[in-house]
């Protein structure tokens, strides 16, 4: 079950990410990013993080990506054109990203015995205790950081209003 979920939705996430890279029009990139986020939500659920799976769908796919698509439509953004800068970025970008990927996967593969394997049984039996533990930790030990995030959101809203306001 977990292997099938990982193969299907991990492959979907990887395909969506590569599609984001290859598409020229920003609206196509945004839609493939929605695919990536939805499949990551399924992977979170299969890893026993139900609360995060729900909030991934609501916050990322629901709020942030709608915001992105809205801005793309508002600015009427067209296809990006190739310039001199993009050719240099091609030369640097692909080998750099490939080097990061090779380095990280080498480390993970050489340490895979220490990392072990994920088991969907045994851990997901405590479905409620997972969410209960998150909320109790969030409302007791981490109450101050949790409250500070509300200030952060408020400041972000004020900043967005100030920046997007029309100059008089």
């Amino acid at each position: 079950m977990q292997l099938a979920l990982f193969l299907i939705f991990g492959g979907l996430a990887a395909a969506g990410a590569i599609n984001l890279l290859l598409q020229r029009h920003p609206i196509n990139s945004a839609l493939s990013l929605v695919v990536v986020m939805m499949s990551l939500a399924v992977l979170y659920w299969s890893l026993g993080a139900e609360f995060l799976a729900a909030s991934q769908v609501i916050v990322y796919s629901g709020a942030i990506m709608v915001f992105f698509v809205f801005v793309i439509m508002l600015l009427n953004a067209g296809e990006e054109e190739r310039t001199h800068g993009s050719r240099a970025a091609y030369i640097v970008g692909f080998p750099g990203a490939a080097a990061i990927f090779c380095l990280l996967s080498f480390v993970f593969l050489s340490e895979r015995h220490a990392l072990g394997s994920s088991n969907i049984g045994g851990y997901l039996n405590h479905v409620t205790s997972n969410i209960t533990e998150i909320s109790s930790l969030l409302f007791t030990k981490l109450l101050l950081p949790f409250e500070v995030t509300s200030v952060l959101i408020l400041v972000a809203i004020l900043g967005a209003v100030v920046l997007a306001r029309k100059e008089q």
Partner: protein
């Protein structure tokens, strides 16, 4: 069929998927010329790191990683609001989203 249903996925597989998503995000950040697409690749990198956090939280049977993911989501939401407002402001003054034509800092 039963063996497939009970098959376990190594945590390293999730981490390699996250590394792949992260490096695709880095490549898109470097290659893309559209401001909004560059911003979307930052979100992709944040998501890759979130997957790493959740995989490690699952591995150690701790919820600390999941709480970190929650805070990353909050910060990403705030960042998206401010960043898209900045993009709208830049588009108003310069009438373009191409990063090669937005070189205010270059003398």
């Amino acid at each position: 069929m039963n063996s497939l249903a009970a098959a376990q996925v190594p945590v390293a597989a999730y981490l390699i998927l996250a590394a792949m998503l992260f490096s695709v995000g880095v490549a898109a950040f470097l290659i893309k010329r559209n401001l909004i697409t560059i911003f979307m690749s930052i979100e992709l990198m944040l998501n890759a790191v979130n997957l790493t956090f959740v995989a490690f939280a699952h591995m150690w049977h701790q919820v600390s990683g999941q709480i970190f993911v929650f805070f990353v989501m909050v910060v990403a939401a705030a960042e998206a609001a401010v960043g898209l407002a900045i993009i709208i402001a830049i588009f108003r003054t310069r009438q373009t989203l191409n990063v090669d034509q937005i070189d205010l800092m270059k003398s």
